[in-house]
């Protein structure tokens, strides 16, 4: 997620070029596992800084008649964001890289594997990796008293759904990318979602027009779903959010595999 904050300042073109010339460096690098594990620290650091640090300046917060600590308001949002960025990182940057430079897919498609299977395969890897992070994060939340163990278990599948939704979206977007320069737009968009999807303050505070706009975007639904479960307030509304995410995942995968079929098998 903060890859958004930090990495967005790098020029993706250059980074892309670097990676392009350094195939497999991440995997062969001495620090691969450390890099993989350190991904978990990002949402945790944000939780500690904004949730706990700024939370101390705020104290309690009342949303929809329920009063809670600011940290417990922010924590589920960080969880959702973490699921989002894990899935997006794997399906945009890495996916695009493989699509464009490594010819991985062309090699795979020379076998009886169909494009849709390639797309789903990519997505599954993204989810497995992302779920590792969210599971640890949920444990931390329980330990910090920001949610209850039972609800944490309920929230876990929700985070998997969030990952699926953004993974599908990410793949669909990747197939439309013209070049690394488009990643600037993507990361800016991702950053805006991160800041305004009810993550740090309730969307109710925004002007009505902005609020409606936010409610159309996916991270809002992800945050609402995960927060509802972590807070232990299930309701029919959560089903609506879940449905939105499920549709997004399905449409994303369908669109991506169609585009793949067209570009690779043409």
């Amino acid at each position: 997620m903060v890859t958004t904050l930090v990495v967005s300042r790098l020029s993706p073109g250059r980074v892309g070029a670097v990676i392009n010339r350094n195939v497999g460096a991440l995997r062969s690098g001495p620090s691969y596992w450390v890099v993989l594990l350190s991904g978990f620290f990002e949402p945790l650091l944000y939780l500690l800084s904004i949730g706990v640090g700024v939370g101390a300046l705020i104290g309690e917060l009342t949303v929809d008649g329920r009063t809670m600590s600011y940290a417990s308001f922010v924590a589920p949002a960080m969880l959702a964001v973490s699921a989002m960025s894990g899935a997006l990182a794997e399906t945009t940057f890495n996916f695009f890289f493989k699509l464009k430079y490594m010819k991985t897919f062309e090699a795979v498609l020379a076998t009886p594997v169909r494009p849709v299977e390639v797309a789903v395969g990519e997505l599954v890897w993204a989810i497995v990796r992302g779920s590792l992070y969210t599971a640890i994060f949920l444990v931390v939340m329980v330990a910090m008293g920001l949610t209850e163990a039972g609800w944490a278990v309920a929230a876990f599948p929700a985070t998997v759904l969030v990952g699926l939704a953004f993974g599908g979206l990410g793949m669909a977007v990747s197939t439309l990318m013209r070049g690394w320069q488009d990643f600037d737009l993507l990361s800016t968009g991702q950053f805006a979602l991160f800041l305004f999807s009810g993550t740090f303050s309730p969307v109710r505070d925004y002007p009505v027009g902005v609020e409606v706009l936010i409610q159309v975007t996916p991270l809002y639904h992800a945050v609402e779903l995960v927060r509802g479960l972590c807070m232990g307030v299930p309701g029919w509304g959560l089903l609506g959010h879940a449905l939105y995410l499920a549709v997004l995942a399905a449409v994303g995968v369908w669109f991506a595999s169609r585009r793949l079929e067209r570009t690779l098998c043409a």
């Binding site: 930090v6 990495v7 300042r9 790098l10 020029s11 010339r21 460096a25 101390a56 600011y70 990361s187």
Partner: protein
Amino acid sequence: MALTRSVHPTFAVLERHLTLYRRLWQASVFSSFVMPVLFLLSIGIGVGGYVGSVQGVDYLSWIVPGVLASTAFQIAVGESTYAVLGDFKWVRAYHAMRATPVNVADMVRGHLLYLVFRVTVTVLAFLVVVVFFGGLHSPWAPATVLVCALVTVAVAAPVTAFAATIDQDSYFALLFRLIVLPAALFSGVFFPVEQLVVGFRLLAYASPLWHAVELCRAATLGRAPAWPVWAHAGYLLVWAVVGVVLAVRAFRGRLED
């Protein structure tokens, strides 16, 4: 043939970076300027509504100088990683310079001057925006430009030295996650470091970003910083000088033999 030199090699190196920058300035303006503004809106105003006031000022005014210094910090680090390693490893631009009268100190100085330029442009644009938010409260506010230039050199120089030493870009992911991000989040940008438990507070004091945040905050709010100004500035200067020495040494080590 006796060449009459009409440009110092340091500036010739700066010129190369600026020529490259001309190609990507739109993208970089977007990320280095639009993003901090979005940040101000979300955290400064959105979250600020719940915070009320900190140390006697509204939350937006309190984090403006923090976001400012943090932006400089992140541009400095971000542009001293892949770009530097790439110019050694793939582009070999420094090897090309090495074959000319440009020496390693010129390369390091040219790179740092370029970053100071980048940061200054961003900081000025940001200050103009913040004026409209009513986030500046002192005629000293323009001094933040100097502070940001100083912190830029203070962090860019050692990171440049690091980038010139390593051979694998995966180290940068570690740098960002384990050092840069914690520094950006716990150096008094979003909440006073006094809230941190003692051990972490000492780490915050060690971070150059905290000193830059203190100086910027003093400038935009018109109040004395935590330590005397010379102490904060001196600390940053030490980082800058040591960093430049390390960077020159790293460049020399990489380019010779």
